[in-house]
């Protein structure tokens, strides 16, 4: 479970997050949509323990972010628009390195399993820099789930991918990445956000402006609400 209460993040005098209250239940998939600069990546970075909140509390998987960040990192995986992979190393070497950092047991078998899941077992010993962007992002999913995290954070994982690669990535996330996990995903894409998530929240003006279950929304309804809070038009 992810529980966020009164989360504030300021850069100097500029407050980016102005009091976020949000809950993601165990096994739930919450999609967070919002315009550029809304603070989606800032929120993900705080949850991933890469950035420190100015104030507020965060509990993830039963651990308080303020004093158990190592335990949180042990139970959490992150897929962002950057792959976090070493281009000069092979998938095998990358996953072996991360596996050692996470103390993954039976690492050899686990590497084989996750590479098979993301369809890259045939490229196991090729340098990552020779991969297409889509393949690198699939390997990034393998890296993120290597240590069986119960919480998965997805920060616009399809950025920079063409339509086909983005569809493949989301199919992969739905089949192997998010099953049985608590997931928080940020995206610009309302359609994809609605199709993947159990719940949708809109981040606007540094706050959660709207939150609803998928069952109560259709795409047109989400668009209408989104543009009401974010501004602009539906075209």
């Amino acid at each position: 479970m992810i529980e966020i209460r009164g989360l504030v993040k300021s850069f100097g005098h500029k407050a980016v997050l102005k009091g976020i209250d949000l809950e993601v239940a165990d096994g739930q998939f919450l999609t967070l949509v919002g315009p550029n600069g809304a603070g989606k990546t800032t929120l993900i970075r705080i949850l991933a323990t890469l950035s420190r909140a100015t104030s507020g509390t965060v509990w993830m998987g039963g651990f308080d972010l303020a004093d158990a960040s190592v335990d949180i990192r042990r139970n959490m995986g992150l897929v962002s628009h950057q792959t976090l992979l070493y281009g000069d190393l092979t998938p095998d070497e990358n996953l072996r390195f991360y596996g050692r950092m996470y103390d993954v047991p039976d690492l050899e078998d686990r590497i084989g399993t996750v590479l098979q899941q993301v369809g890259l077992e045939g490229r196991r010993h090729d340098p990552v820099r020779t991969f297409s962007r889509g393949m690198q992002q699939r390997l990034a999913i393998a890296r993120a789930i290597l240590h069986w995290p119960s919480i998965l954070l997805l920060d616009e994982p399809d950025t920079g991918l063409d339509q086909h690669a983005a569809e493949m990535l989301h199919e992969l996330l739905a089949t192997v990445g998010t099953k049985g996990r608590t997931v928080l995903m940020t995206t610009h894409n309302l359609e994809r956000g609605l199709s993947m998530g159990d719940r949708v929240a809109i981040l606007a003006g540094g706050r959660i402006a709207y939150e609803a279950d998928k069952s109560t929304l259709d795409l047109e309804g989400l668009r209408e609400v989104y543009y009401r809070f974010v501004g602009g038009s539906m075209m």
Partner: protein
């Protein structure tokens, strides 16, 4: 030190060595630069300075530190590309393990370059005698330089002019270390025993202890936003 902590330090060192063996980017640039410094100084001083032995210790440490600077610059830039530094920071380990892993990697790369450059220096500058005590002095000097350099490399990588920023930040801090290393090296080349240079040696050891401790304690704050 716990075994798990040590294993993660070694995993980082192992990863850096594999990446370097594949590209040889860092090693080749460090080695060529150190070689050029020694050759250029050798020709320059041979024409102008009567006693080359007076400048040889300084030349040696200039070659070591300038070459080390190239390595330190690359060290965190490679991590920053593709967000790999964030990948490291996500690992469930005290972040000081990342510092020690990167520092140890830098120390190994610098030491390998120094081990190759030192005989070349000896041939070109032809100092009167080789004292085995020079080896621990070089190790201590390199340890201090890599120790504080790794911390400043992690700071500089977040700045816009990161490759310029590192020498500007680092060199003023390592001045005492360099002075001590040069003084001891000069003394050893003159045939003085190490015991006669105890004050400089204490400065060298003190610098290493203080800055390794400070770097260990502050690294977490340096890498987190």
């Amino acid at each position: 030190m716990r075994i798990g902590f040590l294993r993660k330090i070694l995993a980082i060192v192992h990863k850096d060595i594999i990446a370097e063996l594949r590209t040889k980017e860092m090693f080749s640039s460090m080695f060529v630069f150190a070689l050029l410094v020694i050759v250029i100084f050798n020709f320059a001083f041979e024409l102008r300075v009567a006693n080359i032995k007076q400048v040889a210790p300084g030349v040696l440490w200039v070659a070591f530190t300038f070459a080390g600077m190239l390595g330190l610059n690359r060290s965190f830039i490679l991590e920053k590309d593709k967000g790999c530094l964030e990948g490291l920071l996500l690992a469930p380990v005290d972040r000081s393990a990342i510092y020690f892993g990167k520092m140890l990697g830098n120390l190994i790369f610098m030491s390998v370059v120094e081990a190759i450059v030192l005989p070349i220096f000896w041939v070109l500058f032809n100092p009167p005698l080789f004292s085995p005590a020079l080896i621990p002095v070089i190790v201590l000097g390199t340890l201090g330089f890599a120790g504080v350099g790794t911390l400043f490399s992690a700071i500089a990588v977040h700045t816009r002019a990161r490759e310029v920023m590192l020498p500007i930040l680092l060199f003023p801090i390592v001045v005492p270390l360099m002075i001590a290393a040069v003084k001891i090296t000069g003394g050893l080349l003159d045939g003085q025993p190490l015991s006669e240079m105890r004050n400089w040696l204490n400065l060298l050891v003190g610098f290493d202890v203080i800055f390794l401790t400070v770097s260990y304690m502050t690294f977490d704050y340096v890498v987190e936003e």
